[in-house]
């Protein structure tokens, strides 16, 4: 058994390329779920198309959907994606958090509670501070917190915020992140 039961990926401005790179290089026999939370512009389909062009099936979960190992999930536009402790999804249409819905913090916080030390959370490029609190929480629950090396990120605000907020985050470039996933599956 690998080190993790779930992989989280969060990102905002400048994260689309790293996300697609990571997805494309995920091991084919990965047997844990991947949950992606991206800030998307309202009603802009083009980014989504780019993600969907990845040769992997990406699912936007519905409320109460069971989280199935090996699947790749993307938080739907305009909803917060929350995981319950029975490892199902819940969708929440409440106010924005950090000016965002979906908010990375909301998803990461709930996964930290549901999966605790079995969580690998990765925070990528972005121009705001969403995700830092969630990443710290994952780490406090014994999970692994990783940020994209700010030097390689198109926007470094998001990874820097997490580095400053949490006591112990690993700083990696995208190749190292992919390697970490492969080595711990």
């Amino acid at each position: 058994m690998g080190a993790y039961d779930i992989i989280l990926v969060g990102g905002s401005a400048g994260s689309l390329l790293p996300v697609t790179t990571i997805l494309e290089q995920l091991p084919g026999d990965l047997d844990i779920p991947v949950v992606i939370v991206l800030h998307r512009l309202k009603n802009v389909q083009s980014e989504m198309d780019r993600l969907l062009s990845v040769k992997k099936k990406i699912i936007e979960p519905e409320d109460k959907e069971k989280i199935v190992p090996g699947r790749i999930y993307l938080a739907p536009q305009n909803y917060h994606l929350i995981t319950e402790t029975d490892r199902t999804f819940m969708l929440d249409y409440s106010e924005l958090v950090n000016f965002s819905r979906p908010s990375i913090d909301v998803t990461f916080n709930s996964v930290a509670l549901a999966y605790e030390s079995r969580t690998l959370a990765i925070l990528l490029s972005g121009a705001n501070k969403d995700g830092a609190e969630g990443l710290c929480n994952v780490q406090e629950k014994g999970g692994k917190a990783v940020v994209q090396d700010p030097a390689t990120a198109e926007f470094d605000v998001m990874p820097l915020a997490a580095i400053n907020a949490c006591t112990d985050v690993s700083v990696m470039n995208i190749e190292e992140i992919i390697l970490h996933i492969k080595n711990n599956k």
């Binding site: 109460k64 069971k66 909803y79 319950e84 969708l91 929440d92 249409y93």
Partner: protein, 273 residues
């Protein structure tokens, strides 16, 4: 920042609310309700769970503000235009076959969805023979809904939604502006009855050809979802329609076989028989 609430504290709060005020939140989706309780503590400046419990028990106005916060009230006019377009093009023509139409909006929040429906009914020439029952758990929402007042700042977005929904009129004909607010036309309101109804506790009260319950039952756990779907089944006429929110689904409930799918993408179902 993210002060956690232990499971024991969470369950105790649910218990306190139920015993003191008769509102039962035990069937709500736990992770999200817990999150809202934590946020409410920050929002209301509660230093500890102990303090929160104390205030809850002793201060009814405080409790009311907590309910207002816990139940998510966010809503829009013509939210999800594709849904309204389908409603207009496919469902309303079917409802037109009934001499008297009854529609239930369960969890109507501040009414924006109800007025959207009334506008489409009016444009279809059906409003005069339709009775709309709009219910919610939260009396403050209902009061606001009944007033027919909407903030002016949202009208631009609602107008765009209305056009995308296939509205055939001039949206500005449906309201008059007053300073920073608008009031919706009286005629839209005349066939609507707003009243309190708790989906977790209250009973069937009429029979409907269409029930809209959108973005309400995502906040419930699976047992309560099943309960509500039974309540709706018993409240629908044979082949009556049920509309859920875009991300909600019957797939994960025990009641999925009691309904058939009419428009999967728009979450429109109907009662079998």
């Amino acid at each position: 920042m993210n002060d956690e609430l232990s499971m024991a504290d969470y369950l105790e709060l649910v218990q306190v609310i139920r015993l003191r005020y008769g509102y039962d939140f035990s069937g709500y989706a736990q992770a999200s309700l817990k999150r809202r309780m934590v946020r409410f503590m920050g929002h209301s400046g509660m230093p500890s769970v102990f303090e929160l419990k104390y205030r809850l028990v002793n201060d009814e106005a405080f409790f009311n503000s907590m309910v207002q916060y816990l139940t998510v009230n966010v809503t829009e006019m013509f939210r999800d235009p594709a849904f309204y377009r389908t409603l207009k093009e496919d469902i309303l023509p079917k409802l037109a076959a009934y001499p008297n139409i009854r529609i239930w909006h369960a969890g109507c929040s501040t009414g924006e969805e109800v007025y959207s429906m009334a506008i489409l009914l009016k444009e279809a020439g059906l409003l005069d023979r339709t009775r709309i029952y709009a219910t919610d758990l939260n009396p403050a929402n209902l009061e606001k809904a009944a007033s027919g007042v909407v903030q002016l700042e949202y009208m631009k977005e609602y107008t765009a939604n209305y056009i995308q929904s296939g509205g055939i009129g001039d949206f500005s004909d449906y309201y008059s502006a007053r300073y920073d607010r608008v009031i919706l036309q009286k005629e839209l309101r005349k066939n609507i009855t707003f009243f309190q109804h708790n989906l977790a506790a209250d009973q069937v009260f009429n029979e409907f050809q269409l029930i809209c319950c959108r973005n309400v039952f995502i906040y419930f756990n699976r047992e309560l979802q099943n309960h509500v779907l039974k309540l709706f089944y018993d409240s629908l006429s044979p082949w009556g329609f049920l509309a859920l929110g875009i991300k909600e689904s019957l797939r994960f409930t025990e009641m999925r076989n009691a309904y058939e799918t009419v428009h999967g993408a728009h979450k429109i179902y109907r009662r079998k028989r």
